[in-house]
Amino acid sequence: MIIPPYLKAGDTIAITCPAGYMPAENAATCIETLLLEGYRVMAGETLGSASQNYFSGTDEERATEMQYYLDDKNIKAILCARGGYGMSRIIDRLDFKMFLKHPKWLIGFSDITVLHTHLYSRYKAVSLHAPMAAAFNNGGYSNEYIGSLLAALRGEKGNYHSAPHALNKTGIAKGKLIGGNLALLAHVTGTASDIKTKNCILFLEDIGEQLYNVDRMLYQLKRSGKLAHLAGLVIGGFTDMKDTEKPFGKDVYEIISEIIEEYDYPVCFGFPVSHETANVALKQGAKYKLSVNEGGANLKET
């Protein structure tokens, strides 16, 4: 796997919106924080653009900006300011030739999952599943989750804990860490950005889905061979779940637990990766050790 160089003071981080629109002021605290960390920051035109629709710009504008940052060797990291929807529309237009000559950190989550799986599968490059610009707001800049992103960029290894959970399955797993947003992982199945998960530690999170749809997406992962041969499984937040008028009859963790019941690998629930505040920085494609025991779970970069 290609691990981009970690950042030093004076390095430049570019901020772009490859998916949904974001007003510039929503990224102000993020930019300020990165400046205080000693980085230079370059914000693209897609941030706070004049776009009149859902997207931060046309496909062409979003792809061109991302391409520019991928190609500029002076930029050491690209922080996606927000997710939403849009990465799938431009991913096949992006050229990673210069990126491969001068690898850099690509940062984001949710819709950005598409970029992570694409980089992992096609180019064996490690990227950062981590909070985005809005997470710095409302005091977020000083919390441990933004702290974990800043530490990851400096080159510190991640070491995270989660509380015991009744559905956890104990054990120890070692492997490459991959994953992200469940809906996007289901969505890239069968495409050029699809992932192979054998011997990996898979992590999943999602937001705002119908319970039956979570069930359906997990069956898709299962039926496309992505759950049978994992080293371990890390379940993050599945927040703001919706139920049908006639209840599905299980909560989201019960749904997940049932679908992976037949496998023996360690599993932890309630890990701090989510659309809520609790969202640690995880290096997609880097090696981790997952230990789940009575005291809870520990995910440690090795």
């Binding site: 009149q52 289901a186 890239v188 069968g190 069930d215």
Partner: protein
């Protein structure tokens, strides 16, 4: 412990000659069951009566009236009900009573051995797209994409479009060569296509990507419909089709009904369904038509999947006919 022999396998379909189950004759039996959402026997009453009037007898599955939260019984109950209908030689067609969600949970546990020895018509849409795609891919056997028991209405109260589309199920079952007309839409791309018909619910098709039930679209006429999805989600699903190579080799594309969930405030998507489809198909030369009468709507015609059709998209007419 259940064995999951999943993972994308080779395309079996290309090696298999397409097969059509025997058409039904008077006195033949149709099995009714609920492999997905739950439904009461009362809600199947009109369907049963209508199909009896068509001259068929009905076998009611154990899942009709069963309820396990949203499901028509537990996975095991739905699986075993489906299995016995597949295995029962006296049942010549199986109609899913309704959609909802559930076939994905049991499809890998179904054994199609007896069905392959004596193919029968499988009928339904929406969640039943799992069956159409799975059966086409693995066995190359024709199925019927149509309304289900929960769409049958009392003939006395039925609108003409309801009577007509429900009677199309009978026509399909007895072997009438089908012909459909769709309204002309200014966004249509003209042309003539010849190919096997395949398709169904777009969301369900995305759910099958990468699995042993994944749809094969090459040289086929693909139809898609959906309900209750945001425009951005529809766009994303078309990208899944595009990026998994399912739009490039089509003979033709039929866009059925899409009940679109309105954008949330401030999240206006800015592209219409037509724009979403046309930008993905711009570089292809096959015909594309919109507003075809298939979907979660009253005008939902019965279509024979896995059967050769000709699609003609012209200035003043859109016609799909079985050939």
């Amino acid at each position: 412990m259940r064995a999951f022999s999943s993972v994308l396998t080779e395309n079996k379909e290309e090696n298999l000659p397409p097969k059509t189950p025997p058409y039904l004759r008077k006195g033949d039996r149709i099995g009714i069951l609920s492999p997905a959402g739950n439904i009461s026997a009362e809600d199947c009453r009109v369907a049963i009566k209508t199909m009896q009037e068509w001259g068929f007898s009905i076998k009611l599955g154990a899942t009709i009236g069963k309820k396990d939260f949203t499901f028509g019984g537990t996975d095991e109950e739905r699986r075993s009900d489906f299995q016995q209908m597949l295995d029962d030689g006296s049942v010549k067609a199986i109609m899913c009573a309704r959609g909802g969600y559930g076939l994905l949970r049991i499809i890998n546990q179904l054994n199609f051995k007896k069905f392959l020895q004596r193919p029968k018509w499988i009928i339904g849409f929406s969640d039943a797209t799992v069956l159409h795609s799975h059966i086409a891919r693995n066995f190359s056997i024709a199925t019927i994409h149509s309304k289900m028991c929960n769409s049958f209405v009392d003939p006395a109260k039925a609108e003409p479009v309801q009577t007509e589309t429900i009677d199309m199920i009978r026509k399909c079952l007895v072997g009438v060569k089908m012909k459909y007309e769709a309204p002309v839409n200014p966004f249509n791309k003209k042309g003539v296509a010849k190919g096997m018909l395949t398709g169904g619910n777009l969301k369900t098709l995305e759910t099958l990507a990468g699995s042993t039930s994944d749809i094969i679209t090459k040289n086929k006429i693909l139809f898609v419909e959906d309900t209750g999805e945001y425009l951005y989600s529809i766009d994303r699903m078309f990208w899944n089709l595009q990026r998994s190579g399912k739009l490039s080799g089509l003979a033709g594309l039929i866009i059925g009904g899409f009940k679109i969930k309105p954008d949330d405030e401030g999240e206006e998507f800015g592209k219409s369904l037509q724009e979403i489809v046309l930008e993905k198909t711009a570089k292809y030369h096959y015909p594309v038509c919109f507003d075809f009468p298939v979907g979660h709507q009253k005008n939902n015609v019965a279509l024979k999947c896995g059967v050769m059709h000709r699609l003609r998209v012209e200035n003043n007419a859109v016609i799909l006919e079985e050939i």
